[in-house]
Amino acid sequence: MLLLDIFGIQNNALLALVALLTGVALVALALWLAGLISPRSFNPQKGEAYECGIPTRGGSMTRFSVGYYLFAILFLMFDVETVFLFPWGVRVRELGGDGLISIAVFFGILVLGLVYAWRKGALEWK
């Protein structure tokens, strides 16, 4: 694709690396600048958790609702499905009817999975 030719650099991975480093540079520069000009004061009360004014009771990195975990698992299932569907999606036209049948089996199993999760009540927030 001729469209890309930013400065004639053809290597996209290099450009992605440049973008990544730009992100790092933005955070690092701004932090450095803030470190230079922002005031500093020391007060033991400041280091406390911003919760409710009285000292925090109990740890905060504790157990949490299992519901989040359930949705994470469901997400994993469907996201991997989407990833598998992408390469097929590009070639749909060429593959035609045969490709449709083979993907229908894969797709059907995943829809069955969704129906199963739905019937089991996994989609209800408790």
């Binding site: 694709m1 004639g8 450009l15 000009i37 005031p39 280091g47 905060s60 749909v92």
Partner: protein
């Protein structure tokens, strides 16, 4: 239409004429980085101003109007205020993860930002799997938010981060599937190809009914992805003080703020490139003279205009719908959007394979 690669090629040849190859590449990489940084920061500042003005208009207020003409310098003032605020060092956080989280959030939005096509030849990264790359890198942001919430060691941030994680991963499915629907229609994952394919008619109009459904779903899911509008319960200020970034102060908080606004632009920019033709002008088949007039407007203006118009819609959502509860939010995604999206994908595939016209 004006092709931006003319300028870049000229600069490239000029540098190559008196410098060794590796030095040219390095200089060009630095130039790209600086340009990216400037556009990123300026756009974020513009978006902060835009959102505040719009919110004010929706509430019959004036919004910022004291700093500079029409308050235009307000967001610069905000930025300086954030820079001169103290970075409070907390004694209960996980120091490494706490510092790492803003990096991840900013990197995710910067990488996604670099993929967007601004005009003819004005696109930094054009992988042949561009749109897939965009979805992949924008999901790194979830990681940053989860890390921020967990490492802050605070109950509010933990709940905020978990809500945000559940919400963002759930709605990522809808984003992925509606993008997949358009990939099936375009037959390519390269952003350049997708935009070129909309030369005559945008996908929203040429993609039959499935494209319209995918567009609506994409807008809803994109709003949820950016933690905005009716889906802002990760940072519901009345329940969780500020959600996952409660413990961040000064510019550390500013990074999350910056990334949030940039993500708004990225979501609307992606919608613009998938459904509204990216930098392609508005064409109506058969109206030759009309199409010629439209060609005179540069691609950059088309792209930014479309993105800003879509952002307007997303901000509009915020002031129209009340905030959802977490169970409503998850059932909206899993019980409505996901089945509709799967059905929509099948519809699109049938249209593409058998050439049915709806």
């Amino acid at each position: 239409m004006f092709d931006f690669s003319i300028i870049t090629e000229w600069l490239n040849n000029l540098l190559n004429s008196f410098l060794p190859g590796w030095l040219t590449t390095t200089i060009e990489c630095v130039l790209i980085g600086v340009g990216l940084l400037l556009v990123y920061a300026l756009l974020a500042l513009f978006y902060i101003y835009y959102e505040r003005k719009l919110c004010a208009a929706f509430q019959c207020r004036l919004g910022p109007d004291r700093v500079g003409p029409w308050g235009l310098l307000q967001s610069f003032a905000d930025m300086f205020k954030m820079l001169i605020k103290e970075l409070i060092s907390l004694n209960h956080v996980d120091k490494f993860l706490f510092a790492l989280a803003p990096y991840l959030v900013i990197i995710a939005s910067m990488l996604a930002f670099a993929v967007l096509p601004w005009g003819n030849g004005l696109q930094i990264i054009d992988f042949n799997i561009g749109i897939f790359f965009l979805i992949a890198v924008s999901s790194i942001g979830v990681l940053g938010i989860l890390l921020a919430g967990w490492s802050s060691n605070n109950k509010f941030t933990l709940i905020g981060a978990l809500r945000s994680g559940a919400q963002m991963v759930s709605y990522e499915l809808s984003v992925g599937l509606s993008v997949l629907t358009m990939v099936v229609f375009a037959g390519s994952m390269s952003i350049g190809d997708i935009v070129q394919a909309q030369d005559h008619l945008w996908f929203l109009f040429s993609g039959h009914i499935p494209a319209i459904i995918a567009f609506i779903i994409y807008l809803i899911a994109g709003t949820a992805e950016t933690n905005r509008g009716p889906f802002d319960l990760p940072e519901a200020e009345s329940e969780l003080t500020a959600g996952y970034h409660t413990e961040y102060s000064g510019i550390h908080f500013g990074f999350f703020y910056l990334a949030e606004y940039l993500n708004l632009f990225i979501v609307s920019g992606t919608a613009a490139l998938l459904f509204l033709g990216g930098w392609m002008p508005f064409h109506i088949p058969g109206w030759e003279s009309f199409n010629h007039i439209m060609d005179y407007i540069p691609g950059v203006i088309w792209f930014i205009g479309k993105a800003i118009a879509l952002s307007f819609v997303i901000i509009w959502f915020k002031w129209t719908y009340p905030r959802l509860r977490i169970d409503q939010l998850l059932s909206l995604e899993w019980k409505y959007l996901l089945p509709i999206n799967l059905f929509n994908l099948v519809l699109m595939v049938l249209i593409v394979v058998y050439g049915i016209h709806l």
